[in-house]
Symmetry: C2
Subunit: 193 residues, 2 copies
């Protein structure tokens, strides 16, 4: 299970280790956060990861100005993890990693997240999945339109890597930004492919 | 201080108490959540409140499938509370209540939230504040453009109610939706006022 970012050990010095993904100790979420920070720093786009939803059940007030949460649980998110604005477009996506070398299990995406991605497309936003096959070091952007098309025409419980190769957009590894997915969004806006 | 929603007592049966704001036991946040839920239910807009950001410092794993947060703290949000999509537009806003009958204290809004609202406007989204003067039962939408204009031309640490009356848009109380702010957004899109 992939626990939310808050409780993972974070890469402390990113700049000094420009080697492979594994060696960097950064996962897709870290790289997307860094990418979005880069986009903001050059005033290109304002896209953020939403905080992980948490259900708080016990709090403590040790002093007047302090609140300590003493018991809480991770809640199921009702939407996707990332959203924001780029060139006036509403952008919305979910990002996932898989260790598999052959397919992406659909159990990774909650049904209400799929519905959410569809809602965004219907209301003229741009929504997609970013899926990384970590063992292969391949990262794809798959548009919601193609994702839904797959779901509508397949009984499988996973999406084959081949489908990503065919319908998805390969996001090449970069240094800064690490995961330059807006380059793909530009193609989508421009209507190429 | 207005603590995040998760630890407040929620109104359990909203439908059965169509009386005044006070008697309903609903605050602005509850009413906006209900309004956004209503918009989603009629497929009008997909706007959500972001989860409250929390910094987790201790977790416990009592069993294989369970994670319990044993210590965490509320973190300062880097953006606004609400965002989403309406008619293809990126929508972003912050909502606040004040007990004051004369002005809205600027200390209610973090400087980076102001910057965020500005960023959205510059990138062709629609952003604004929703401010409720609870004692007066008046709720205003103030566009970021007018909010910034005020900040640029005033040394005060608060915005007078008069400024809301002059530049803001009054959002009339409703039954369902309670706070029909998209009616105002329609005026903004249409370019009236």
């Amino acid at each position: 299970m992939n626990y939310p970012n808050g409780i993972k050990k974070k890469a402390t010095s990113v700049e000094s280790t420009p080697t492979s993904h594994k060696n960097r100790g950064m996962n897709l979420e870290d790289e997307l956060n860094q990418t979005n920070e880069y986009y903001r720093s050059i005033d290109k786009a304002y896209i953020y990861k939403k905080p992980t939803p948490i259900k708080i059940t016990k709090v403590d007030y040790p002093s007047r100005d302090k609140t300590v949460i003493k018991e809480a649980f991770f809640a199921v998110p009702s939407t996707t993890d990332y959203n924001g604005i780029y060139k006036g477009y509403y952008i919305d996506f979910e990002a996932k990693e898989t260790q598999s070398k052959t397919s992406f299990a659909l159990s990774n995406i909650h049904p209400h997240q799929i519905k959410h991605l569809e809602n965004i497309v219907r209301h003229k936003g741009i929504s997609f999945l970013i899926v990384r096959f970590t063992s292969l070091n391949l990262t794809y952007l798959l548009r919601t339109e193609d994702f839904i098309d797959y779901l509508d025409n397949n009984e499988r419980k996973s999406i084959e890597l081949d489908y990503f190769k065919q319908k998805g957009y390969l996001i090449k590894d970069g240094y800064n930004p690490r995961v330059d997915y807006l380059k793909i969004v530009d193609q989508i806006i421009g209507g190429t492919k």
